[in-house]
């Protein structure tokens, strides 16, 4: 049996000694190139391509100012998604894990973000401010950390209590926080926050990390993603805006987010760490794809399921080769 297998492997590896035919691969390649180019041009002319304009902080401040205001308070209080994220932005949490592997934590803080300063105080400090706001910034900067925390947390709690309805917030000891949040919202309405967040006092900048994370802390980006059917629970990673095909090749990655326990954030340990588990699973499956030729059972599937009889139908017929029983 093993001798037959060895002989077969030797035959498969040896240069083909059987019947051949003329085959012009350069001509084939040229025809393929022309065909594909023409097809691409036709698709481009008829279908164009997606290009939904990017969201801006100005747009957020105009369409939902209360949400931007409340998000600014969360940044100051340290309760926003970014402020509590963990690596690679800060040490606020250990991040996700896969069993004993705390890779997110171990990778450390490589893109440090201080949400209160980077998202609120520093952008405000780049502006020529009205006296009231300038005083609020100065008060915040000169206060002790514990005092800042007390003001911002009290105000954040008060806003949460009235479910974001700012006009219903009870009077309290909020220090400069309401003025800072209003100042940032007004700054965003003017369009100045977009540039200030990117530049952070510099000139050349190509890193949008802070803008993207600040966007994600509020409802504006999330609502836009839901409206465009891009949420992870609806195969969002492989969708595209409008009626265009997206990254369909990510279907397997998106698939895991649709099924339990990965789609249940409350389920421990897997659901609560779904991002990490799915990345590991996809890494293993990718490795599996590369190693298919040496994986038992899977490597024999092509021999057991006779799709090859259709692929090489002409050859089998001409040679009178019947299918072998496995």
């Amino acid at each position: 049996m093993s001798t037959n297998k060895e002989a077969k492997a030797e035959f498969d590896a040896a240069p083909w000694a059987g019947k051949t035919k003329r085959y012009d691969i350069v001509k084939e390649g040229t025809i393929a190139l022309v065909f594909v180019f023409v097809l691409t041009v036709v698709l481009s002319l008829i279908m164009s391509s997606p290009d939904e304009p990017p969201l801006t902080f100005k747009g957020w401040a105009v369409s939902n100012p209360d949400n931007l205001y409340a998000t600014a308070v969360q940044e100051l209080a340290g309760t926003s998604g970014t402020a509590t994220y963990g690596g690679p932005y800060n040490n606020a949490s250990d991040g996700l894990n896969v069993g004993p592997l705390w890779l997110q934590k171990w990778a450390g803080v490589t893109h440090p973000i201080d949400a209160a300063n980077d998202f609120v105080i520093t952008p405000l400090s780049t502006q020529v401010l009205a006296p009231e706001i300038a005083n609020a910034v100065a008060t915040w900067k000169s206060a002790a950390d514990s005092q800042r925390q007390a003001w911002a947390t009290a105000y954040d709690d008060a806003i949460t209590k009235v479910e974001g309805k700012l006009s219903d917030v009870a009077v309290g000891a909020y220090g400069p926080v309401p003025v800072l949040a209003q100042g940032l919202t007004d700054m965003a309405k003017s369009g100045a926050l977009d540039a200030a967040l990117l530049s952070q006092g510099g000139f050349f900048q190509t890193d949008n990390t802070k803008q993207i994370l600040f966007f994600g802390d509020g409802a504006y980006l999330d609502d836009a993603g839901t409206a465009a059917n891009l949420q992870g629970g609806t195969w969002g990673m492989m969708n595209e805006t409008g009626r265009y095909p997206g990254q369909a090749w990510l279907w397997l990655y998106s698939f895991w987010y649709q099924i339990p326990p990965f789609n249940n954030g409350e389920s421990k340990p897997i659901g609560a760490n779904a991002d990490a588990y799915i990345m590991v699973i996809m890494g293993l499956l990718s490795l599996g794809l590369i190693l298919i030729p040496i994986i038992p059972v899977i490597r024999n599937l092509p021999m057991r399921i006779p799709i090859h009889r259709g692929i090489w139908r002409q050859y089998y017929q001409s040679q009178g080769i019947k299918r072998r029983k496995m």
Binding site: A9, F11, D12, A13, A14, W16, G18, K19, T20, K21, R22, Y23, I25, L33, V36, T40, L43, S44, M47, S48, P50, D51, E52, P53, P54, L55, Y85, G87, P88, V98, L103, A107, G108, T110, T206, D207, N208, T209, L221, A224, G225, L230, G232, G236, Q247, W249, D275, A276, I278, M279, L289, P293, R299, I305, H308, I311, W312, Q314, Y315, Q319
Partner: protein
């Protein structure tokens, strides 16, 4: 003379992959199925992707937002990527059902599979550098996956500059090298013979 590295490399190349093997004008008779077309279609589409990508690179990532010509070239890039994956996936499935790794062709399969994964990474970074709402959304969502396994510490999907450089330089270079090695291996080893085929007097006589 024969000890020279250059001479050794040349001799090995000439022995393993002579020009007749690199550019053959005949193929085994069994190379007669539409499935064989999808490999060359994948390569042809990659050429269109590179062509349209180079034009976009010369004009910068925001060009297509403000120019009709830019939008058209962006559309060429977009649709050629879509076609590329369609052709490549069909090619990949075809090679799976042909068990194309037989006969010392493991490396041919492996380079193809790694090229497929590299293509996904290249396309993914392309979606991140569209500088539109889609790239905002994808970068925000995708960061969690990469961060969760520590990769985000070095591969920051919200950093446009990093993603742009990876998309137009590093990843295409990796994909290009993999593609060249893959094709050279196909030429060196030849097209895998049909499952259950064997040497026979009919084969030999009919040559």
């Amino acid at each position: 003379m024969s000890q020279m590295w250059t001479a050794k490399l040349r001799n090995k190349w000439q022995k393993e992959l002579p020009i007749e093997k690199l550019l053959p004008d005949d193929q085994p008779a069994y190379v007669s199925s539409w499935i064989y077309v999808f490999g060359v279609l994948t390569l042809a589409t990659l050429a269109v992707i590179i062509f349209s990508g180079i034009i976009l690179a010369f004009q910068g990532p925001a060009w297509y937002h403000i120019s009709k010509t830019g939008k058209f070239v962006n559309s060429l890039h977009f649709w050629s990527v879509q076609l590329f994956f369609v052709f490549m996936v069909i090619h990949l499935w075809g090679k799976f059902w042909m068990a194309a790794w037989r006969g010392n062709r493991f490396a041919t399969w492996a380079t193809g599979a790694v090229a497929f994964i590299a293509s996904i990474a290249t396309a993914f970074t392309g979606y991140l550098v569209q500088t539109n709402f889609d790239s905002q959304w994808i970068s925000f969502e995708a960061k969690d996956g990469f961060n969760s396994v520590g990769v985000g510490a070095w591969f920051n999907v919200t950093n446009l500059g990093q993603m742009l450089l990876l998309h137009v330089a590093f990843l295409p270079a990796i994909l290009g090298v993999l593609t060249v090695v893959h094709v050279l291996m196909v030429r060196k080893r030849g097209v895998v013979p049909p499952i259950d085929s064997e040497p026979s007097p009919v084969n030999e006589a009919s040559k």
